[in-house]
């Protein structure tokens, strides 16, 4: 306990919370409006307006990035800065640095809003932003981390509350995920290639993509739940001990689940199984957290009827429970076989973002605004109306996506005549069948957006009626810190050693030979029994140890990093260090010609991966529809990989050679001219705009550095090769009645599309020769 000290009055810096709150509301409206707009494009293809910067492929990343980083990001920062200052009883040390954080983050959002519609993208979901913006994001995150840990360093409350644990996990994990998935080599000022390719890129991408959901959209919001829900309900969290179990099990298990986005793909099977197993295990901590949140409302349910803040929180936490039930369900391989590539996944994601993130944000904003401006909420009935209109919007959205997703999956997989013929051979049959669901989804989104506009108006009127104030508090400043724990002491303590021992035993049990397996199992059982025995007899000591840990942020943070990193290391390192060219399963991708490479970059620029996969799964329906299933070796030189995650249109992995060049030209010019009922946008500019051949030299050089076996060639040689190939295609198009210049973008794109699915057989001798260059 404290040995002495004094009382001082501090004034919290709430101006930064006000800034992030307003930004969160504005960017929330922008992100949701973009969502409604892209939903309208799926319902009515005409909404693409034949403008390159307004097509679905370019705007969908704008919507997802705005929803995640602009809306939830700003909301998270507002919630964290406000609650952390009060939980640790210290004010923000540098007024300047938090404002640098704020303005840099807004500049990043604006840069994203400009570059994504222009087609400047890395071609990886939720990681589309180009490398200069990536660096800015990393700098902004570091500044955020400095601000946060600086507040902790100056804290006057020794013990860290559970919300702060979740904030710590968020900060350290997002930093690791973001940096690893954005490792790349620039080819120019606005373009770069990721250092990972093919299966490695796929694994790293979904390790990041899944955990962006986990550590950007979930853990910070759980921290916010643990602070604001008790605050609004006026009662402490249901079980503080359950929150301990919730935190450690969640941060440990979550990181392993990424491969469930790649089930039945060419990803090695052991990784798929791990991803599924840990996804199912996530049920327990997720529901522990949900129950802890909902049971906090015990005895306060009468308030929920009147108070819109509690309504939003109760529904938000319920949606957390529902989406974390649905997530593991979708990660079970047999369910995933149906749901993957369909709208079911889209509905699942939106039950999380609209229901969990959006409603928690609304509840927090309604709670904060009157306190930050020292007034009453302008209209409680309006906030209640927002709740109901938003709820109806979400339900319409996710129900329509269930119907669309399940029917889409069933129709495309359906066969007749003993599984030898597709029941619906035309992909567009499934599109037409779900047209009404596209309209319903759009309506749901519009209702949700309307609710958000009401929130913006309600809070604007609240702000107009009040005056900005900062909270003040009298705090006790201890003379010297109590409960000091050194890092070495924390790492060598009995609970940590027992945990490490059990994990080591599990690892040996999983990978060892028979004898080692049995030994590891025996050791694990003994370790668990001894640990339980110690919990029984030394409980006081272990509890006190944890209390002391909570008063020492450095050991706590280091242990959190260990818990988080174990899963990533086990899954990613074996895949990254493997010799790519030696693990191609008998088939290897042929490196792209210069023209094909230019065409591929156009494919990525237009965001084709948002609607088309390049990964055929080993199912009868897919093989009959698209061709032989995809092998690991067929994308090893793809930087970035383009396996995709959604089939709004058909898979393209084996589209090469399926149609003549003229079909592709007509299809890109006006898809409905060759594919009646298509809802793909027109791409008329591809017939006029010139292919960028000037950057080929730097692109090929970077890819060679990354292990693609290209010979050394000058810029002139590359241009000459590209133009020679383009002339052949343009001549053939001319004979078919279409006159285009050889350097038109459509020619390069056709060259790329016609190459898809082409590969070479690999003998053992060839593999050995390739391993020298094929890392």
């Amino acid at each position: 306990m404290e040995t002495g000290g004094s009382k001082v009055r501090i004034e919290y810096d709430d101006a930064i919370t006000r800034m992030f709150l307003i930004a969160g509301i504005l960017w929330g409206a922008v992100g949701m409006a973009a969502g409604v707009f892209v939903a309208s494009q799926l319902a009515f293809w005409q909404m693409n307006l034949d403008l390159s910067w307004l097509t679905f492929g370019r705007l969908r990343p704008l919507h997802t990035n705005a929803a995640i980083f602009a809306f939830v990001g700003n909301m998270m920062f507002a919630g964290i800065y406000y609650s952390t200052q009060r939980l640790v009883k210290a004010t923000i040390p540098s007024r300047l640095l938090v404002r640098v954080h704020f303005w840099l983050w807004q500049a990043i959002i604006i840069a994203a809003a400009i570059t994504l519609p222009l087609g400047l993208t890395r071609g990886k979901e939720y990681a589309e932003l180009i490398w200069p913006i990536n660096i800015a994001v990393a700098v902004a995150w570091v500044i955020f981390a400095i601000n946060f840990f600086w507040i902790l360093a100056r804290r006057n409350e020794p013990s860290l509350y559970v919300a702060v644990w979740f904030y710590i996990a968020t900060i350290v994990t997002v930093a690791v995920l973001y940096i690893v998935n954005h490792l790349q080599i620039p080819t120019g000022l606005l373009h770069g290639y990721p250092i990972f390719g093919g299966v490695q890129d796929a694994l790293v991408q979904w390790w990041y993509g899944h955990n962006a959901v986990a550590f950007f959209l979930t853990t910070p919001i759980l921290g916010i739940m643990y602070y604001y829900l008790p605050k609004a309900a006026g009662r402490p969290v249901y079980s503080y001990r359950l929150s301990v179990v919730h935190f450690w099990s969640l941060v440990f298990i979550y990181i392993w689940a990424g491969p469930h986005h790649l089930l039945y793909t060419a990803l090695p099977d052991w990784l798929q199984s791990l991803g599924m197993l840990f996804s199912v295990m996530l049920w327990a901590p997720s529901w522990g957290g949900m129950l802890n949140g909902l049971l906090t409302l015990r005895g306060a349910w009468d308030k929920v009827r009147q108070d819109p803040v509690l309504k939003f929180f109760a529904a938000g936490v319920t949606f957390y429970g529902m989406s974390t039930f649905e997530g593991p369900l979708l990660a079970i391989k047999s369910v995933n076989a149906l749901s993957h590539y369909t709208d079911w996944t889209i509905g699942h994601v939106h039950s999380g973002t609209l229901g969990w993130n959006g409603f928690m944000a609304a509840g927090m904003f309604y709670w904060l605004a009157p306190r930050l401006w020292n007034t009453r909420l302008h209209s409680v009935p309006m906030a209640n109306f927002h709740f109901w209109i938003g709820l109806v919007g979400i339900l319409l959205y996710i129900a329509s996506m269930w119907v669309s997703g399940i029917s889409h999956g069933l129709m495309l997989g359906a066969t007749v005549e003993g599984g030898s013929v597709l029941k619906y051979p035309n992909f567009l049959d499934a599109v037409a069948a779900n047209r009404a669901m596209m309209h319903t989804r759009m309506l749901g989104g519009m209702l949700y957006l309307a609710g958000w506009v009401l929130l913006a108006y309600n809070i604007w009127r609240t702000v107009a009626a009040g005056k900005p104030v900062n909270g003040t508090a009298e705090v006790f400043v201890p003379e010297k810190p109590a409960h000091r724990m050194r890092l070495a002491e924390a790492l060598t303590s009995a609970p940590v050693m027992f945990t490490a021992l059990v994990l080591a035993c599990v690892f040996l049990w999983a990978v060892g030979w028979d004898f080692v397996k049995m030994l590891a199992l025996l050791a694990m059982i003994i370790a668990v029994v001894v640990a339980v025995d110690r919990v029984e007899h030394r409980l006081q000591g272990w509890g006190e140890w944890y209390d002391r840990l909570l008063a020492n942020s450095l050991p706590f943070t280091v242990l959190t990093i260990f818990a988080v990193l174990i899963g990533g290391l086990v899954e990613i390192i074996p895949t990254i260090v493997m010799h790519k060219a030696s693990t191609v399963e008998g088939v290897r991708q042929i490196p792209y010609t210069p023209l094909q490479l230019a065409g591929r970059d156009i494919y990525i620029r237009e965001g084709c991966y948002n609607c088309h996969s390049q990964m055929i799964r080993p199912f009868v329906g897919e093989v009959l529809r698209y061709g032989d299933y995809s092998n690991l070796g067929e994308s090893i030189y793809d930087h970035p990989y383009q396996w995709g995650s959604k089939r709004t249109g058909p898979d393209l992995h084996r589209v090469g050679g399926k149609y003549p060049h003229i079909w592709h030209l007509r299809h890109m010019e006006n898809p409905r001219s060759v594919s009646i009922g298509s809802h793909m946008p027109n791409y008329p500019w591809l017939l006029k705009d010139k292919t960028d051949l000037g950057s080929l030299k730097s692109k090929v050089d970077v890819l060679r550095t990354l292990g693609v076996p290209y010979p050394e060639r000058s810029a002139e040689q590359l241009r000459g090769e590209a133009m020679a190939e383009a002339k052949v295609i343009a001549d053939e198009l001319g004979k078919s009645g279409a006159s285009v210049e050889p350097d038109a973008e459509i020619v390069a794109l056709i060259a790329y599309l016609q190459q898809l699915g082409k590969s070479e057989k690999v003998t053992k001798a060839k593999t050995a020769a390739a391993t020298g260059a094929g890392r």
Partner: protein, 58 residues
Amino acid sequence: MNVIGMTVFVGLVLVGLFVYLFWHQARGSGGPVSDRDALMPLEEDDGVAPADRRGPGR
């Protein structure tokens, strides 16, 4: 067959562990993890100060 045996074995171990821990918890000898911390969010600010351009401080 091995998989079924292992699943049953691990399942029984987990069930046994949960039953034991539940019994332990129900006996009322729960750990001393500080429940006092759970009260932290309930502490209210004791006043407000008009926000000015200079910003807050001690």
